[in-house]
Symmetry: none
Subunit: 186 residues, 4 copies
Amino acid sequence: MRSRERILDVARTHDARTLRLNDVARDAGVGIGTVYRHFPTVRALIEALSVESLARLTEASAAAAREDDPDTALRRFVESALTLHLADGGLEAVLTDLARADPEVDSECTVARAKVFDGYDAVLRRAQRAGVVRADLSAAQLQRLVCGIEHAVRLGSPADRSMLLDILLAGIRPAPRFDAALVAAL
Amino acid sequence: MRSRERILDVARTHDARTLRLNDVARDAGVGIGTVYRHFPTVRALIEALSVESLARLTEASAAAAREDDPDTALRRFVESALTLHLADGGLEAVLTDLARADPEVDSECTVARAKVFDGYDAVLRRAQRAGVVRADLSAAQLQRLVCGIEHAVRLGSPADRSMLLDILLAGIRPAPRFDAALVAAL
Amino acid sequence: MRSRERILDVARTHDARTLRLNDVARDAGVGIGTVYRHFPTVRALIEALSVESLARLTEASAAAAREDDPDTALRRFVESALTLHLADGGLEAVLTDLARADPEVDSECTVARAKVFDGYDAVLRRAQRAGVVRADLSAAQLQRLVCGIEHAVRLGSPADRSMLLDILLAGIRPAPRFDAALVAAL
Amino acid sequence: MRSRERILDVARTHDARTLRLNDVARDAGVGIGTVYRHFPTVRALIEALSVESLARLTEASAAAAREDDPDTALRRFVESALTLHLADGGLEAVLTDLARADPEVDSECTVARAKVFDGYDAVLRRAQRAGVVRADLSAAQLQRLVCGIEHAVRLGSPADRSMLLDILLAGIRPAPRFDAALVAAL
DNA sequence: CATGAATGAGGATTCATTCAT
DNA sequence: GATGAATGAATCCTCATTCAT
């Protein structure tokens, strides 16, 4: 039972997007069979790794719900989401590649994933009701936008993180209702 | 010499991100050796495929330069870029994964890539001088943002394209310099 | 000691020719180690399973001995043997694959197997003395013929059982000593 | 192209029922990939190996058709069949395990298999019309009986072959229409 | 006696790349 | 230039068996 933790610890040091169970086994100093006993497929391991990240995402949405300002709530939540994605390369697959998910309903991961989307939904809707985010954006789209920004950051350097996040947050604001000429007059 | 064209035509029907030279050879009705003669590595084929996309990107920046309005110019250019990325899955690698590029300097692709970045630079700087794009955004960052939005669209459906593009374009605008209270007063 | 019975009961529901101790353990709700404690090898489990079948085979030969007619005796015995083989896929291995038998002489199974062959011998010899079975057939050959018919039935469907048994029984009769022409004259 | 022959030659020295492509590759002094190029699955190799046996089976039925006496024809055909089965352990699988056959209709093997069953049918029907074989025996049953006798011979020694064949042939004769008492009176 | 996590050899399979023709 | 058979390292995955608790 200690092996499971060892495997997870080691797996966390690998890039979830290019995991090879054999490598994990070797690095964990564990037989390949042991890895398979605990995680029958690569996907299962990635899902197990993601459970913690998913929980933190849900916590983040809960924290956002406690935030007074809907705008601040959204901003902080999206920032947390991006940070978690950058730390856990498997999050994207778990959240978007449903096809590869085990059809075994109600697995820990499936449940956690549903909560995450509920969290996205709550934070987003609240912001939309407050008029600080465009009304035509869906939770799933926002989630994929986070993945997109994650992708852009990975293509460049971590230093881009804050700026690209900023751009994402600015981009999802409703279009200003005043026209440019009027603003210029100010 | 006819083979080369056949191979390129067939390769265009495949997803550049999951290209297998063997498959291309089979579909092109050509020996695998022939493919390797023309394209020693997968990367070489992807680069060859991208040359046309890169040219179109450069054309797009040229067209943008002819546009009167710097803002419109940028918008149209970024839209073209996103469209080209979605049509040519290899563009991202060619533009961002320099590490895998052949060190063979001044290959057709290297030259084309440089022109693309020059185009990005010109269109972006002009927009920045006009004050319609945040000044702290670099051409490379903008390029990676396009990749990020491409990624987000691919995760979802093509139907998201226009909306996510919109968000990207809104996001890179300079932050409004007036405060919310003032705007509300309007 | 209850485990042993549970394991045997469960194992009986599996096909002895494709037994996996892990599966048996799982189905029996018992640790794999427990299975190995009682049955160090697959063969040991199969032998244990066969003990009952072997006993019934011996009973069948005893019953045959009590039969008045040697021919009927043989027929009923062979039919019983075939039925037992079809019900217990491990019987064949226990009776014919001596090489894999535990060298542990006089194990319960070894003893039972010897009795079975004695039974075959008695029933067969009696039939041969009565002239209703070809004299050149050995008990071991007859036993393997039963395995052969078992095999043929398994390749097809249980519906073939009675017919193939019939063919076996007809086949081991002595060749008619009269010639075809004479018979035709009848 | 020489490899293919080498592989087939080597494979013939292995027991078709326990073939391992890795072993075949090693023994043939050929890369494992080469074996897979020619035979994508174990089944494919076994089928390729069986093609010759199947052809010989069909030849045997053709020869039987040229035989004057339907009884002799059947006898010789069944003997040939048994001999071929004993020489080619894969024949049984090819002829009886349709489930594992490639659904790719009209493969060389599928065609050959069909011809074999046609041959069985022709030889058997002729013998049945001549009244020398029980009328209720189907070609498929006869084929499986051959497999059964093959199995019995393999369990014992090759020395049993002729006798068990004899028993099979005697067993499939129609039951004598005269009663035992009458025969005894002769 | 019972447990079940751990083992790791072994076998199947893929695919990018080479090279003799 | 063109061919495509051959390669074999690499990876996935299974399962009989062991052994520390």
